[in-house]
């Protein structure tokens, strides 16, 4: 952050405003990504979380700096909420050397050692056992840390979900399994992918305590996450948190959306987490038009800055192509 940088966690702003701000940041960032995708600045697969911002914005701040995060290919929001700089994320999407994965990962593979952000995994379910292992390391090294693992409800069909929950439960490891249930895995609706659509029941079959929350209500998400993370940190073993949410946009940029109706999407849009939180804060008198305008301008500036940074970034020299296939100095 240079001159355009903004004090994102201004103490003057209430928690509710900070949550709103984070959601707006994510939304704006991703809307910008969509635009940059059509301009071919960003390539490959691009998965936006528009509509689901309350999950990343609500859960992530309940973690400590020493905690770890494992996410999916739909992880811009988590990366931003974790505090990875928008510049580094945007540069990554541009494939630039200044990107948080040096341009090697792209949208689906954001990584950041400083904030213990372990990706950005594009294999559905692939991150779950990694989270279990991170938590195992914490346990063996007697560190009071939590690993938060985000995944979609589609991942629950993968065998590795079950293996991972069982292992974590058997060994009582400090993992928060956070399921973003947006009702679809690409075009496959939950009830065509699971014989039991009550996902908490599935988790409970491993004796993992569960909680389900309205994933469109960012304050509810934050509260549930805070309480659940505390339980995990206190040695309560893994917990499963279902956030019931919805993806407003297509699965990726190549999705004709044949599998759901416009009406369904519109109905859910009436529960837009940003609109809901704005309305609540207005009701509470915490925000007014002026503040909303201010937030918007701050964030827009931040994103413009990130785009400019990414544009100005450099290309990793082709000679370095095979660098990092193995660790440096190995």
């Amino acid at each position: 952050m240079t001159n355009t940088s903004i004090d994102r966690k201004s103490p003057a702003r209430s928690e509710g405003i900070i949550l709103l701000e984070e959601m707006i940041r994510i939304r704006s960032f991703e809307e910008k990504c969509a635009e940059l995708y059509t301009r071919e600045k960003i390539r490959g697969f691009l998965h936006l979380s528009v509509g689901q911002e309350a999950v990343a914005a609500g859960v992530t701040p309940t973690l400590d700096a020493r905690d770890a995060i494992v996410a999916t290919y739909r992880e811009h929001g988590h990366a931003l909420a974790r505090g990875i700089s928008p510049r580094a994320i945007m540069a990554e999407m541009f494939g630039k050397r200044e990107g948080c994965s040096r341009g090697r990962g792209g949208s689906m593979h954001l990584f950041d050692a400083a904030t213990r952000f372990y990706g950005g995994n594009a294999i559905v379910g692939g991150g779950l056992p990694i989270a279990v292992g991170l938590a195992l390391a914490d346990r063996m090294l007697h560190r009071p840390q939590v690993t938060a693992c985000f995944f979609g409800e589609g991942a629950i069909a993968e065998g590795v979900f079950h293996e991972s929950l069982n292992l974590a439960a058997l060994w009582r490891l400090p993992v928060l399994f956070c399921c973003e249930n947006n009702l679809y895995a690409m075009g496959t609706a939950l009830d065509r992918s699971q014989s039991e659509i009550d996902l908490c029941r599935k988790a409970a079959s491993f004796k993992v305590p569960t909680r389900s929350v309205d994933g469109m209500d960012v304050e509810a998400v934050a509260e549930a996450a805070r309480e659940t993370v505390a339980l995990v940190r206190e040695g309560g073993g893994p917990h499963f948190l279902e956030c019931r949410t919805y993806r407003f946009r297509a699965h990726s940029m190549f999705d004709p959306e044949l599998y759901r109706t416009k009406t369904e999407v519109e109905t859910w849009k009436r529960r837009d987490p940003i609109a809901l939180q704005s309305a609540r804060l207005r009701d509470r008198g915490e925000i007014d038009d002026a503040l909303v305008g201010e937030l918007g301008r701050e964030i827009a500036a931040e994103i413009e800055d990130a785009v400019a940074f990414a544009e100005a970034g450099s290309w990793e020299p082709v000679e370095e192509l095979t660098r990092f296939v193995y660790a440096e100095g190995s």
């Binding site: 390539r43 490959g44 494939g95 590795v160 895995a185 496959t188 004709p256 044949l258 296939v325």
Partner: protein, 337 residues
Amino acid sequence: MTFGTATAIGTRRTTYRGAIREALREALARDDRVFLMGEDVGRYGGCFAVSQGLLEEFGPERVRDTPLSESAFVGAGIGAALGGMRPIVEIMTVNFSLLALDQIVNNAATLCHMSGGQFPVPLVIRMTTGAGRQLAAQHSHSLEGWYAHVPGLKILTPGTLEDARGMLWPALEDPDPVLIFEHGGLYGMEGELALDTGAVSIDRAAIRRPGEDVTLIAFGGMLGPALTAAERLESDGIGAEVVDLRRLRPLDETTILDSVQRTRRAVVIDEGWRSGGISAEILSRIVEGAFYDLDAPPRRVCSAEVPMPYARHLEQAALPQVEGIVSATRDLMARHG
């Protein structure tokens, strides 16, 4: 089974994607035992839009969306094949096939042999392979050559519209498990196809371009670059023959050796990683079968040994390019005999 021969009854414009869809439609229409199963093959219309429209045409029993359970639905394909069906299982991308590898290698490839011939597995598995679309390290592998190591499997790699259209039916007629690798970069490839194009023979490699001075051996996504390289070499006065392997297991060694014995020089082009890739097998077959005919050591042009990077310039640098093929070939021609 009769094979479509390109009689002059006219052609139509289509794509690799469209040709595969047509093959699927034909198979579903022709044989009640055939069904298509995989993630998002139905309502979504196929991850790469290959199966679009088939659900509407054949219904959800025969165009069957599955949950994200690669191991179970590939295994279910094996079981359904044993039970008398002719399943076509689609795995979205070759990387995800690793989640089903136990079923493919430990079951599909062994059951016929382990059972003393009682239980062949007439299963077709289709999947997308290859890089070039900036999908990075978990969506860009080229593992068809790797799969070709496994006895009990047959491996097809359509690189032309004809093969995209024609390989499915013989694969379904085959009593053994056949894996078809569709190159993701080819789905949009357009061209003319004879109106009556149907099944093709999958027994032999094809000489896609005759030449006398050197044999370029390629398949799948590398066939195009190999042909382009051959054209460029032409202007240097080098006559490059292009062999399209088409099937990686079993390999058609005869066609390879015949060509190399004539040209006395060979370059193998493979999008897979070099070390231990199918390119190594081709080199070995050439050396074992035609050592004394060679004027120079055969060459390989392969992908750099790196999990595919996202950035376009790095990805392109990792992949075999026309220039690389041309310069390797020129270099080879300059070697003494």
